[in-house]
């Protein structure tokens, strides 16, 4: 009975991972989040470097390097997820970025730092870090983990073709 239950669970997990609608929905949500998050950072990399520096985890030089490259990684991953182009790489990088961001916020919270997240806007008075932000990030981490494990690769339009 144990084996039967296990194989039944494994089949359900397999069918969940191959569900094209869930896959498409998560790609759309996580992709749009990354695209929106990248816009302010690309427009003002200096302000984003200040936001990274506020976490006091990396040197100012590395903060500036991250502020130069990271917003473009976010934008390309976001577009990749939404369009289904370079989908596997986009999902893997999204997962890695979200894990790093979440750990950085956790470390800042444990040190008692009163700083803004720097996630969507670089305004220092908006989006202070907190447990709500950790919760939001964890949801996105689970979503992107699903995308990494999911075998379903479909382009932007193929999801609509399948429904016909």
């Amino acid at each position: 009975m144990g084996i039967g239950t296990t194989s039944h669970g494994a089949m359900r997990l397999k069918s969940l991972l191959e569900n094209p609608y869930l896959n498409f929905l998560l790609r759309l949500v996580i992709g749009i989040v990354f695209i929106v998050a990248s816009i302010d950072k690309i427009a003002d990399p200096n302000a984003f470097a200040v936001s990274i520096n506020n976490y006091k985890l990396v040197s100012p030089g590395f903060a500036m390097f991250s502020a130069t490259v990271l917003p473009w990684v976010e934008l390309l991953c976001g577009l990749g997820l939404v369009m289904g182009v370079l989908y596997r790489g986009s999902a893997l990088l999204s997962l890695l970025m979200l894990v790093v961001f979440t750990v950085a916020i956790l470390i800042a919270l444990s040190r008692g730092l009163d700083i803004s997240c720097g996630c969507f806007t670089q305004d220092p008075t908006v989006g202070k870090i907190g447990w709500v932000k950790i919760g939001e990030n964890l949801l996105l981490v689970f979503g992107s983990l699903y995308l990494v494990l999911s075998n379903k690769v479909s382009s932007f339009l193929s999801i609509f073709r399948k429904t016909r």
């Binding site: 990399p45 490259v69 596997r88 990494v148």
Partner: protein
């Protein structure tokens, strides 16, 4: 795990393109690493001061202390004669500074080493044209533990 290799290959491609786009865009717009150095000759950029320097400025009554904490914390206790400009309400509260000469020495502070409000406040005051802004980074905690003048 059979997907890991193509995922890694695609990741490297995305990272490489991002690296190129990042440096190209900042190079063209003159931001990030390509930003011109700040003009320190004309502006007196905000500087950090120690507890002793803050105490001397307070004793001389030549400086105005600006508390960047929330109004609630300010109400519980603050450096004597300080004014409260919470960072989150800067635009509104900055009207308090309208009558103050731009060359007046302003000393910003917040809770202490765990907060950045004193630095962000100093940058905002500097951008308003105040030329003598100082940051007392030790803040309220250091001042209070040294038993220097407070109110209420």
């Amino acid at each position: 795990m059979k997907n890991l290799q193509p995922a890694l290959r695609e990741s490297i491609l995305i990272l490489t393109v991002s690296l190129v786009l990042g440096f190209l865009s900042t190079g063209v717009s003159g931001k990030g690493f390509f930003a011109p150095p700040p003009d320190t000759a004309q502006r007196n950029a905000p500087q950090f001061i120690s507890l002793d320097e803050a105490r001397l400025l307070h004793q001389s009554e030549s400086a105005m202390f600006v508390d960047g904490r929330h109004a609630y914390d300010f109400g519980l206790g603050h450096i004597k004669d300080a004014i409260n400009i919470p960072l989150s309400e800067f635009e509104v509260a900055a009207v308090l500074l309208g009558s103050i000469p731009k060359d007046k020495t302003l000393v910003t502070y917040c809770d202490g080493a765990e907060c950045n409000s004193s630095i962000e406040l100093a940058v905002k005051l500097d951008s308003l044209g105040f030329s003598n802004v100082r940051i007392f980074f030790g803040g309220w905690k250091e001042w209070e533990s040294a038993q220097l003048p407070t109110e209420p």
